[in-house]
């Protein structure tokens, strides 16, 4: 038990250090034409996945590589669809699929949710923060999210890590605001 508590504090301490670092060095992406950009894409499920992959059909795959797809545990559809999109690209696919455990499985009793939610959040933090630190490779220069609720643990992990969302895109003129850009139909 003591070891667990110590480990938790150690993680918390690392997270705080990381937050301070990020606040002091906010990311200002400035890529030049010859550079590549590591793209990470969260695939929510059914319709969310279809729409996200549709938007990526016109991706400049030489520029946005490598690519990481994050899918929820048990969501075979998204993993298969991502592979399909990749095989349609004209260059040899450079991608990996990372699976995160669900915060709550269908029909799971509510009282056990905190535990599975922590496991889910931990997996996201591993993906977003610890793995990149250990392996000295970026989690992604750019992350794309389009819902649904299962992207929340990933979002929290990034909130801890980075200066939040760079840009919100909406598909309805009525939803446009100072914080959300309307750019017409994207799918």
């Amino acid at each position: 038990m003591n070891t667990l508590i110590t480990a938790c504090f150690a993680i918390l301490f690392l997270v705080i250090l990381r937050v301070i670092f990020v606040i002091r060095h906010p990311p200002t992406p400035r890529f030049s034409p010859g550079q590549t950009c590591h793209l990470t894409v969260f695939l929510g499920s059914g319709g969310h996945t279809s729409e996200m992959l549709q938007m990526l059909r016109g991706l400049d795959v030489e520029r946005y590589e490598p690519r990481t797809y994050v899918v929820s545990e048990g969501d075979q559809f998204s993993a298969v669809k991502a592979a399909e999109l990749e095989s349609s690209f004209p260059f040899s696919p450079k991608f990996e699929v990372f699976t995160i455990p669900r915060a709550r499985k269908v029909l799971q009793p509510l009282k056990t949710v905190p535990m599975t939610a922590i496991v889910s959040l931990y997996a996201c933090m591993w993906l977003v923060t610890f793995k990149p630190l250990l392996k000295r490779q970026s989690f992604g220069d750019l992350l794309l999210l389009n819902g649904p609720g299962t992207c929340v643990p990933l979002f929290i992990a990034i909130f801890i890590n980075r200066a939040l969302v760079g840009r919100f895109l909406v598909q309805w003129p009525a939803l446009a605001s100072k914080k959300a850009d309307y750019a017409g139909w994207l799918i």
Partner: protein, 181 residues
Amino acid sequence: MSRHKNIVFVTVGSTRFDALVDKVISEEVILSLKSKGFEKMVIQTGHSNVPSGLGLKENEDMSQGNIFGLLIEVWPFRPSLKEMYEDAELVIGHAGSGTIIEVLRLGKRMIAVPNETLLHNHQAELAEALDAVGYLVSSSVRDLAVAIGQATSKKFERFPEYDASKFNGILDEEMGFNVAA
């Protein structure tokens, strides 16, 4: 398969939407379809319950017959929906965004019927917004017969084509790539 000029295609995708399936085979809706010159209705029922006692002839993967004088084909799942969309003059569908966009891009007339039993009824929000722009007709199950009249006479707006470069352009802009045209 015999060719009919005026086909209406009804689809609920993979969802369950008993109310819509019941409605399209009601006398009111069928008479409305016939008055607009439709000769055949193909219904893709997904997981919905199909009422028994319709007197349809069961085939291997679909059943067919005549209801109130209209030729009817009932398929739980059709292998290719796209083919059906192409053959149809009018598509009546649940208001799933995937279905809507596919049908509208084929330039077909569409009636979107939101499944009101779904959480927050987000399908209705989408259907009504698209109706307001003039891409389709949004209808409740109850008002379907009237909606058929509207959808067959209305002048629809053409739905924008998919532009693959658009999203990539936004990514380039966001990441500070100095885009050389």
